[in-house]
């Protein structure tokens, strides 16, 4: 009985591409990490309503994705598709967890226009293992009402970190509980997302790819840390920032008492929904000199884990999610950025130039291609967060950079 079933399954799998019979509709499984679940659901719903083969989406808590996928691959219990934080791509590719998609993606005309950062992060030894799925990107937001009150031009956002500093001073002068600037001082992830691009824009490189590679290079790191330190010691940042492990990353700007903050594109729809009266603008994260900009490209990539039972179908889904239809009607229509920056100017975003700016930030953004990202950055004891805290709150900028550099290189050498 079992043999016959297996034979039928094999036969239908082989026959599938030839006949593509709708009667043999399949159901694929897909895991998505919680932060990307909302965006992924829009795409999957669209796919399910337009295709005979369905996808069943399972949400996995962010912290458990790596463990679950790693143990799943080793036990042969994997979903057909998986959407996860792009930063784990190098670790997963190296471990051999993902199916090689090089031939398919290279042959796909839409893939050529995918944001470069997504191509970089999904490349390992010349091969491609995933595609951009539900992007997020960091930006700078400023409160136009506070700018006006402080006598600043509300349509002129800061173009350098020293301008952030100057503007923040004037906004802080407005009164007791109005602050010029905000950042989550105890949140490593928030700061690699919003603070590191300022350093990168100023020409620095943050993380080493291996033990021989340099970490925290250039003067950008020091200049950004110096500015943050000064803003902190001048009281331009609320005291609570020092202990904020990310819980208030989005909440503070919503209060309308913060002048300028680095944040993620996801905040836009949240702000429009929660505080529709808040008058804010969006611009690229600046560097030290005018014209220097960058951002951190985050969000999820989609890939096929080794052991997937529907590889051809899963590949079809990946090809489909890169089409104009999926990018625009699945993502843009729901206020989510497309992974092809060229689609930033679309009918859905036209009404709000702020979303267009955000979508374009994908094109200027970077993503570090490193192993051990969690150890170097995301962990609560990482050299990255230790450096920020020692430099900004203790005031020892040079010592902090030196220590951070040594510890990052030690981790990269593992």
């Amino acid at each position: 009985m079992f043999k016959r079933l297996a034979f039928c399954a094999l036969a239908s799998a082989l026959a599938g591409p030839v006949f593509a019979a709708p009667a043999l509709a399949d159901t694929m499984t897909m895991w998505v990490r919680a932060s990307g679940a909302n965006a992924a659901a829009h795409l999957v719903d669209l796919w399910n309503s337009t295709h005979p083969d369905k996808i069943e989406l399972t949400t996995i808590p962010d912290n458990e994705m790596v463990t679950k996928l790693a143990t799943g691959v080793q036990a042969g219990e994997v979903p057909d598709l998986v959407s996860f934080d792009l930063i784990y791509m190098p670790d997963f590719m190296k471990a051999g967890f993902l199916v090689d998609l090089t031939a398919d993606l290279k042959a796909n005309p839409n893939y050529a226009s995918v944001a470069q950062a997504y191509k970089d992060i999904a490349t390992y030894e010349g091969k491609l293992y995933g595609a951009g799925f539900t992007p997020d990107v960091s930006i700078l937001v400023w409160n136009k009402d506070l700018f006006k009150k402080a006598g600043l031009d509300p349509e002129k956002p800061p173009r350098t970190i020293s301008e952030i500093h100057e503007d923040a001073k004037k906004i802080r002068a407005l009164g007791a509980d109005t602050y010029g600037f905000y950042f989550s001082g105890a949140c490593p992830g928030c700061n690699i997302f919003t603070t590191s691009p300022m350093m990168v824009a100023a020409g620095s490189k943050i993380l080493p790819a291996n033990g021989a590679d340099d970490a925290l290079t250039g003067d950008g790191v020091r200049q950004v840390l110096e500015t943050f330190k000064e803003m902190w010691s001048e009281g331009l940042v609320p005291k609570s920032a020092q202990a904020d492990n990310g819980a208030n990353f989005t909440a503070m700007f919503k209060t309308g008492k913060i002048g300028i903050q680095g944040t993620g594109g996801f905040l836009l729809s949240e702000l429009k929904h929660d505080v529709p009266d808040l008058n804010f603008g969006v611009t690229f994260l600046p560097g030290v000199q005018e014209g220097q900009v960058s951002s951190f490209v985050g969000g999820d990539v989609v890939a096929i884990p080794v052991g997937s039972k529907h590889v051809p179908l899963a590949k079809q889904f990946i090809a489909w999610e890169l089409t104009d239809e999926a990018q625009l009607d699945g993502l843009a229509k729901n206020n989510i950025l497309p992974s092809r920056p060229a689609l930033a100017d679309n009918k859905y975003f036209a009404a709000d130039p702020r979303v267009v700016v955000t979508a374009k930030a994908l094109g200027v953004g970077y993503v570090p291609w490193v192993y051990h990202f969690a150890d170097m950055v995301n962990s609560d004891s990482s050299p990255w967060i230790n450096m920020l805290q020692r430099a900004i709150f203790d005031g020892d900028v040079d010592g902090a950079i030196k220590e951070g550099r040594e510890k990052m290189k030690a981790i990269a050498a593992e």
Binding site: T71, A95, G96, A243, N245, A247, A251, D380
Partner: protein
Amino acid sequence: MPRARSLERWQGWLFVAPALVFVAVFVLAPLGQLVAMSLTDRSLLGGGKFVGFENYLRIWRDSGFWRALLFTGKYTLVLTPILMGLGFALALLTVDNTPLKRITRTIVFLPVVIGLSSSSLLWFWLLDEQVGLFNKLLVDLHLIREPIVWFVTADLAFWAVVISITWKVVGFGMVLFVSGIQSINPDILEAAVMDGAGYWSRVRLIILPLSRRVLLLTTLVSAIGSILAFDQFYIMTSGGPRGQTFTAVYWIYQNSFVSFRLGYGAALSIVLTLIILIFSTTQIAIAARTAET
């Protein structure tokens, strides 16, 4: 006769067999796997060469682990007496079965049945400096002038967790103590009253010594619970500021699942298990000795 005895013995083994199988499958086998894993450099992402005792040597040099262990020790030493003292005091106050005291016991016990993660999250927001009601209470009572940012220094964060855990588990000790006190033969207490013993003398000379077994049990449960602390720190402090509030278990989690070093995490777990084993054996031995005298 010998035949009957051997049959009896077989029967005995048969009766305990299910429990033995359970322990073998769910305790001994995983423990064996853990020991085996601790001798490899296995990563969450695969691999796993045999490296001998390399991981154990590495623990010796891992200042992060020793710091976490020291912190866990401090947490246990501070929290256990608070839970014991407060639990015993509450038990004394609510030991009689009057309706009011029963309701009081229920209220104090209520947090025990809440999940630890939920209660930690609850306290995390109660202690928030912007919207936290706990800060507001302290300000309204004029105990502090402006809201405290609790998680900004390791000491404050430590006390924040101690407060939340005291609220969460003090009811557990109280209930155990109440049952212990209630099981004391009332004749003894009555006799003491007749002999003219005051309330404090009865507590000190009769209730306390006769609750010693419960005291031992509660101390053990509460101390081991504190040594294994994880959720409360994971949720409330994330090990911060600057890694100063990592507990031993949190450090194991961090190494195994954040840094993917399963082999090293396994070695850390074995070391922690041994430490707890030594600790509880000593505690039981001391208690047994004092119980005899």
